[in-house]
Symmetry: C2
Subunit: 150 residues, 2 copies
């Protein structure tokens, strides 16, 4: 079903978007970051059609972003819930980068509904680059060069 | 045409995806980061249908990510080229975060076609969090809390 878009199938952006690029997918990932795990919770929180949600969840499970578990409430039949795997948790920077760009360029008068802060200080944090030895780098200190798969 | 998906229209992730979330859009942005500016270059580099590319470019111009300029080659009619605005350039962290995730979890045997390095050292860099006073922070040092628009 999924194929890498564009002609460069070694491009890691394109390969990520093969998993994440369909409509709703990143918002479903957002819901799981917010702790919503049950199909019914995610469905009502997003207002997404059930068949679309079923399809997207299956794709995210297939690609190892979410894992599916069963649960059963008293007197009800078994149902599914979904949790981020370590692979899914590692999308945090993608979510944060999208959030930061939206904060800056797509603001609302009310301000953002969620903000990223440093636990120790409560101060807002930004998404940036980190050097191999752990220094924060500005965009001007970073460049993109052809890799081994170029 | 565009509407914020999901029920939280103050979510900056959803608001970013309103601009960026359609199929092909982020790959068109990638092409402009790689220095491809002309309609014909982007079209042949991606192998995208012309009407889809026209539509996506118009959306990116409308939202201030790209600016459209005219150019004319010797003996030819006027044509369009597209360049990243400062708003578009600020998508670098989104591209880098998607690239990093793809490098890790969607690798090819050949390795990635592009890599992010520190200009001064040539060492690979990662996408991370930066504190308000410029320190690199680990994911464990950052949390997401309700913002003013919650």
């Amino acid at each position: 079903m999924n194929t890498v878009l564009g002609k460069d199938d070694r491009c890691s952006v394109a390969r990520s978007l093969e998993v994440l690029g369909e409509k709703w997918t990143l918002l479903i990932v957002r819901e799981t970051f917010l702790g919503r795990s049950r199909f019914s919770e995610i469905q009502s929180s997003l207002g997404i059609a059930k068949d679309v949600l079923t399809n997207r969840l299956a794709g995210l499970v297939e690609h190892g972003v979410l894992e599916r578990r069963t649960y059963r409430e008293e007197g009800a039949r078994e149902r599914y819930e979904y949790a981020l795997t370590p692979v899914g948790h590692d999308l945090a920077h993608v979510m944060a980068a999208l959030s930061q760009w939206g904060d800056r360029y797509r603001p609302t008068e009310a301000g953002p509904s969620r903000v990223y802060i440093e636990v120790a200080t409560g101060e807002p944090v930004s998404v940036g680059y980190t050097s191999a030895d752990g220094r924060a780098l500005s965009a001007a200190e970073v460049t993109v060069v052809p890799g081994p798969g170029a």
